[in-house]
């Protein structure tokens, strides 16, 4: 079993993702953006960063990387894919996830801990979580405000595709708990089949209680991915 982490020029949290999975006892390795195969990876991470500099629209160029054709094919066949932060943006641009991510309300980059509530655990990425669980995980982005048209949002809601929402410490939705102005406080969504998850918060930066924001809640997500990949 092996987790593949895509590396674009400008990826920043690629090594962090490899490190976090290895910390959980899984095997993980980088896959170069120019490669044409996924080298037998059992799950794919599209990591955070600024792929190709993201001077156009975040993720707009990365979707055309040779490796992304393989990622799309892997996803179509039901493979487990997670896009984190910039990876979420790339997956939206690639049409693997609905909606889009735009500039934060307030226009500032923010690096802060947030509380997420698990809204649906039908995707394999959240199989080890219960609906209603609260996860403390950091965000760090300037363009993380999730938007989608009302029809799409209603369909996603009905389908259980809204996986994670920003909430306050008590688990309640509140305007001040939403760090970027995301529609309906959405922090993470899946595709219709549930095998592709995109999320703005960084679970790979919440696997170590002694560092960073001192939370290991991200291990629930990464651990679920490992479990799905083993199967």
């Amino acid at each position: 079993m092996k987790i593949g982490v895509i590396q674009f020029p400008g990826s920043l949290d690629d090594r962090d993702a490899v490190w976090a999975f290895e910390r959980l006892g899984a095997r993980a390795e980088l896959i170069w953006h120019g490669d044409h195969d996924l080298r037998g990876a059992d799950a794919i991470v599209v990591p955070g960063g600024f792929s190709y500099g993201d001077y156009l629209r975040c993720g707009a160029i990365a979707r055309f990387a040779p490796v992304m054709e393989q990622v799309a094919e892997f996803a179509r066949r039901g493979g487990v894919v997670i896009g984190i932060c910039n990876g979420f943006q790339v997956l939206c641009e690639a049409g693997l996830l609905p909606g889009a991510l735009v500039r934060n309300e307030g226009l500032k980059y923010r690096c802060v801990p947030v509380t997420l509530r698990v809204e649906s655990n039908r995707s394999p990425h959240l199989s080890q979580a219960n609906v209603g669980d609260l996860l403390r995980i950091p965000i760090k982005h300037g363009e993380g405000r999730y938007v989608a048209d009302p029809g799409t949002l209603a369909r996603m809601d009905a389908n259980g595709q809204i996986a994670l929402r920003y909430v306050d410490a008590r688990g309640e939705r509140a305007p001040e708990a939403n760090p970027n102005g995301s529609t309906d406080d959405i922090a993470g969504v899946t595709n219709e089949a549930g095998n592709v998850l995109g999320m703005m918060p960084h679970p790979e930066h919440a696997v170590d209680e002694t560092a960073g924001i001192r939370s290991a809640d991200g291990a629930v997500i990464l651990g679920s991915i490992v479990k799905a990949a083993v199967r």
Binding site: W19, F50, G53, Y55, Y109, R110, K140, G212
Partner: protein, 731 residues
């Protein structure tokens, strides 16, 4: 020598004497390209011509120092076959003119310095100084600088883990933007910034060369500011963090594969500096062809190509047989690379352009044989009146609690999360303590160790007594690092001063350097390098002398690091060190009375050394729950911050002959407030006694208020006073 030549030289910032030296060196008049090269390399910024006689007096060696001043950055042995590489630099003038790009390229520049040693950059810190934030222009500068640091640092995957932000009207026309970077690498892979081996090939890689930043070191960095400062905006470079990120990865891969003989970044004075310095250090000559340099604009003049400060460029010397592999690595990362020259025998730097030699000069004359000045120095008269204006005549505050809330909310003391939250402090996953602690703690991956870093420098102390200000900058940064439990290693510095052509400024500089040297000797923290930023004056008014020190320390066991917050009800609170009547230059005097005067707190370097040792010992023996350095705002602010950080109250009674406001706000040096479990109190007392550090058990952690004889304030109220200032100002 023609009149036009003298005028041209003067326009580039060269004096008549300096021009005479150039003519003597060359045996003829310099060409336009040569004149521009000398003007850039002999600028104050590049040549340290006014400062080097003083910097030579600093202690620079020690058992752990691998590389000191003169290379791209300082290198310190941290065991396990690893070294830490670190340096602090200024980007003050560019940031004053264009805050976003000025600050962004400041980050880019220092990162390339670290990279050029072969180290992966692992952390950034940003000591910043602005004028009064109630003024619109200062908020504009602060917002722009923080955004610029964020945009650049966040895009290259290096965490910003600390720094400080301070305000004083003296910085209104001339903000300070200093940036520190730390890298880690294997000791056996250290790269040298030198050209060697006749016939070896010179490669320029990274971004293309454009017309940005021409005259950056001479026009911008080496002259005072005036009403025309805005017109200098074309001398500010524009950053492209993506180019930096791929240049970092390509450089590390080249070094890992052993493909590089020497490497240097292109910073101030650009291509001219990289070629002449590498050749001079290697004792060789070099031929370079400007036609091979990839340009953004094809019609650039030779002098523009030579002195352009376009960002994100690196210069490497490689063996002929490795050239193809080097180009392949660059291509893989999408980095432009071109062969621009070769190493020759002799000592000449020969530059050709369109088939003609446009410069032919001894490399050493540019890089190392620049002028050295013993500038006149004189202690200014005004300092006596300032020192005589003692804060003892200030009215005593009626309500001490109210005074505490005022000081807590003062821009210098208040919560800086508004800025920190715009920086990625998490990437690379090794940040054990990010911004907001006494020292930033960064794990050394693959070992059980952590590096600890802090930056400090109090301009008010410098204004009242530059020598003492220099000592305090070292002592306070040391105390901050020691509070985490770390042992001290070495310092880097950035010396921000006014116009060195003024005798009073030069005196301040010499005094501050002497003070730093004394403190570094006492604390056994050698100076590994740094940067001097002169000409920080606007319309004839200088900033306060502001030497900023970046202190590096090490925790042999990362797990023992201590935070600033009280964390367990029932813990005993202890003050280590002694409090005297020392309100001169204090934050209390400024925040409550708008007063700067008197003399700064005395500093006994033996006491400071003993305190730093004790703090590390207490952490190593796991005796304490928290430790927080006592500095601006005195005991009152230190204890309040420990309550806020831990979200818990404290009951405190201090026996003292001092007036209450003096006791609470005095900034006496060599003090820290620690908390420990009650059953450890005797051991802490014994350790303090053994170290010769005064010890006072002053209270207990617990409850929801900070209470002493004079006030009883809820922690929520302390927090509200502390964390609303910047968001309210910048809303």
């Amino acid at each position: 020598m023609t009149v036009t030549l003298i005028e041209r030289a003067s326009a580039l910032g060269l004096t008549k004497d300096e021009l005479d030296t150039i003519v003597k060196t060359l045996g003829r008049d310099p060409s336009p390209a040569e004149l521009a090269m000398y003007a850039a390399m002999w600028s104050e910024h590049c040549s340290y011509k006014s400062s080097k006689v003083h910097l030579k007096t600093l202690p620079t060696t020690g058992p752990k120092i691998v590389m000191g001043p003169g290379e791209n950055a300082g290198v310190v042995d941290i065991g396990d076959g690893l070294v830490a590489v670190f340096k602090l630099e200024s980007h003050n003038h560019p940031s004053a003119v264009e805050p976003v790009q000025g600050a962004a390229t400041g980050v880019g520049g220092i990162v390339r310095d670290i990279l050029a040693t072969g180290a992966r950059p692992v952390a950034l810190l940003d000591p910043l100084r602005f004028g009064d934030p109630s003024e619109w222009r200062q908020r504009h500068l602060l917002g722009g600088v923080v955004a610029g640091i964020g945009q650049y640092g966040n895009s290259i995957g290096i965490p910003t883990v600390g720094g400080e932000i301070k305000f004083d009207p003296c910085y209104a026309g001339n903000p300070l933007v200093n940036v520190m970077c730390i890298g880690i690498m294997r000791k056996d892979l250290i790269a040298r910034a030198r050209a060697q081996g006749e016939g070896n090939v010179a490669i320029l890689y990274g971004a293309k060369t454009g017309r940005d930043g021409i005259g950056g070191v001479s026009v911008l960095a080496s002259r005072p500011f005036d009403a025309e400062a805005e017109a200098k905006r074309p001398s500010v470079q524009v950053g492209d963090p993506f180019s930096e990120k791929v240049a970092i990865e390509a450089t590390l891969e080249l070094l890992e594969q052993g493909l590089i003989v020497g490497v240097q970044d292109l910073g101030g004075a650009g291509f001219c500096c990289a070629t002449s310095e590498t050749a001079s250090r290697g004792g060789v000559g070099m031929e370079v062809d400007l036609d091979a340099v990839l340009l953004r604009e094809p019609d650039m003049e030779p002098f523009e190509i030579l002195t352009s400060e376009s960002q994100e460029r690196m210069f490497a010397i490689v063996k002929p047989e490795d050239v193809e592999r080097v180009l392949a690595v660059c291509e893989r990362w999408g980095v432009d690379a071109m062969i621009v020259g070769r190493v020759t025998g002799g000592d000449r730097l020969v530059v050709t352009h369109r088939g003609e030699v446009v410069a032919d000069v001894p490399a050493r004359s540019l890089a190392d044989d620049g002028p050295t000045y013993h500038r006149p120095m004189e202690r200014p008269d005004w300092i006596d009146a300032l020192r005589a204006n003692d804060p003892s005549s200030l009215p005593v505050p009626k309500d001490l609690g109210e005074a505490l809330l005022t000081v807590l909310g003062a821009p210098n003391v208040c919560d800086k999360s508004w800025a920190w939250e715009q920086y990625d402090f998490l990437v690379q996953h090794n940040t054990l303590q990010g911004p907001g602690g006494d020292g930033a703690v960064v794990r050394v991956e693959g070992t059980g160790k952590a590096l600890v870093v802090a930056t400090d420098g109090n301009g008010r102390y410098g204004q009242l007594d530059p020598r003492l200000g220099g000592r305090h900058a070292v002592a306070e940064s040391a105390r901050n690092v020691a509070c985490t439990g770390a042992r001290l290693l070495a310092i880097t510095n950035c010396l921000n001063f006014g116009n060195p052509e003024r005798a009073d400024v030069m005196w301040q500089f010499a005094e501050a350097v002497a003070g730093m040297g004394e403190a570094c000797l006492a604390l056994e923290t050698p100076v590994t390098g740094g940067n001097v930023s002169f000409y920080n004056e606007t319309d004839g008014t200088s900033i306060h002398p502001t030497p900023i020190v970046g202190m590096l320390g090490i925790l042999e066991d990362a797990g023992i690091h201590v935070g600033i917050g009280f964390n367990s009800a029932g813990d005993a609170i202890v003050v280590l060190g002694e409090t005297f009547d020392e309100l001169g230059g204090s934050e209390y005097a400024w925040a409550v009375h708008r007063h700067i005067g008197g003399v700064p707190p005395a500093l006994d370097l033996r006491r400071e050394t003993a305190l730093c040792d004790l703090l590390a010992t207490l952490a190593e023996r796991r005796l304490i729950s928290s430790a927080h350095d006592c500095s601006e705002g005195g005991l009152a602010v230190t204890i309040a911050e420990s309550c806020i950080a831990g979200d818990i109250g404290a009951r405190v009674t201090i026996e003292s002959g001092l007036a209450p406001h003096v006791l609470w706000f005095s900034e006496s040096a060599s003090r820290a407030v620690v908390s420990c479990p009650p059953d450890r109190l005797d051991e802490v007392r014994a350790a303090a006694a053994a170290a010769g550090v005064p010890f006072a058990h002053i209270g207990t952690v617990g409850g929801v208020t900070l209470a002493c004889g004079e006030f009883d304030l809820p922690v929520t109220g302390l927090r509200a006073a502390w964390n609303r200032t910047l968001p309210d100002l910048l809303a």
